[in-house]
């Protein structure tokens, strides 16, 4: 899994039940705003996220409706596994570097 995906996943797992829109999540994850959507679409397609369009009056808000994303139960379980696996790999690499030196 790529680093941006892991960052987004970690941010989502910090508050698994919370709904967030794309820009909000990008800022929480420390990603460049605008780069988060390929990640969200991939996660949603994999069943890790569900999304819904907010119900607001666009004229009153002065902006288009936002789409909010939330982790599914499967997303929480699989996401935690993926983050743990990535941490383990990083630990292994760090250990091997240590031994090499």
């Amino acid at each position: 899994m790529t680093t941006p995906r892991l960052l987004a996943l970690r941010a989502l797992l910090d508050e698994p039940g919370r709904e967030r829109y794309g820009l909000e999540l990008a800022l929480d994850a420390g990603l460049e705003p605008g780069t988060v959507y390929p990640i969200l679409v991939a996660f949603e397609a994999a069943g890790w996220l569900v999304s819904r369009e907010e119900v607001v009056d666009v004229h009153a808000e002065g902006r288009p409706r936002r789409r909010y994303y939330r982790l599914t139960a499967d997303g929480i379980a699989s996401g935690r596994e993926a983050v743990a696996a990535a941490g383990k790999r990083r630990g292994t690499r760090a250990a091997s570097r240590k031994l090499a030196w």
Binding site: L23, A42, E44, A45, R67
Partner: protein, 338 residues
Amino acid sequence: MVTGPGRAALAVLAALLPAGFRQRQRAEWAADLADLAAHGTVTRWRYLLAVAWTLPALRAAARATTAAGGPSLFTPRGFRAVLGRPGDRGIVVLAVLVSMLAGLYGAAHATRLGWEFIRPLPTAQQSAELRQVMFPGVPVGTEPTEDSNGFPALGHAVAEGADISGLVPGVRDRLVAAGWRIRENPAAGKYVTETLEFEDDLYAVRDGLLLYYDGETWFTVERAAPYWMGWVASAGALLGALLGWLMTGWAGRRAAAGSVAAQLAGAFAWPTVVVVLALLYGPFLLFFDSGLTYAEEVWSHLLHIATGVANWVGVVAATALAIVAVLGRSPTSQPVEP
């Protein structure tokens, strides 16, 4: 709300997404831009740049949602995977070499195309004026000739028997007075073994024309590359490099590693790119001492590539791609998800 150029940029970006996904994503981008309005124009354009940068990934993710079997979040990524060989570093090297070669050909053919639009040779009137500048009062004949790249040029020769000994020392000054810029010849003043004479020729440039005077009774006028030729060649190089990369990626994805198609195509591609790259890029690294500037030597080299025998490389590339097209898609081929 998003207005003006930002709105147009969003429309263009959204148009590149799959139809069923377009409206949804456009609304999300527009909402983000509305949020970022308070942060200024630079922030909003930075956002759009980031969106454009990740658009291929978003497009692939949106398309994968409808693909059979659904997407995989653990698909190998990076150059090697995109080129169809997740475990092979060689494919990246090959793609880079092919891109360099294709970029060079792109630059060469763009230069050749651009040459069709550069300033024409002097008219008869302009040529007559130039003859008077060079050798006032002396009959000088004009005849069509070719420059070193095979393009039409104008040759001028002093009539046989005419005495120009008193005019030769003033050629340089008269050219300068007529608006020509004398370009110092690095070879000037050198003793030339072949002719047992000192080199005292000169080059002069004006309005996209290059004048060469041999120091005696002959001078030529050729067309020179204008300032925009660099942009044309650069655009051609980028386009060629992109095509080279895409072609290598297509071949890598289509022909499975170790398949007959991959081995045959590789047998054509590897020696060609290595040898031809060395042959074609080599001259750019050499020091030229011909009196032409380095830029002029580059244009000349590019024009020779575009018109010369090196075009057989295209035949080799077409053969390698044809092998992949015909023999690819073996049963063991695995399409790589983007």
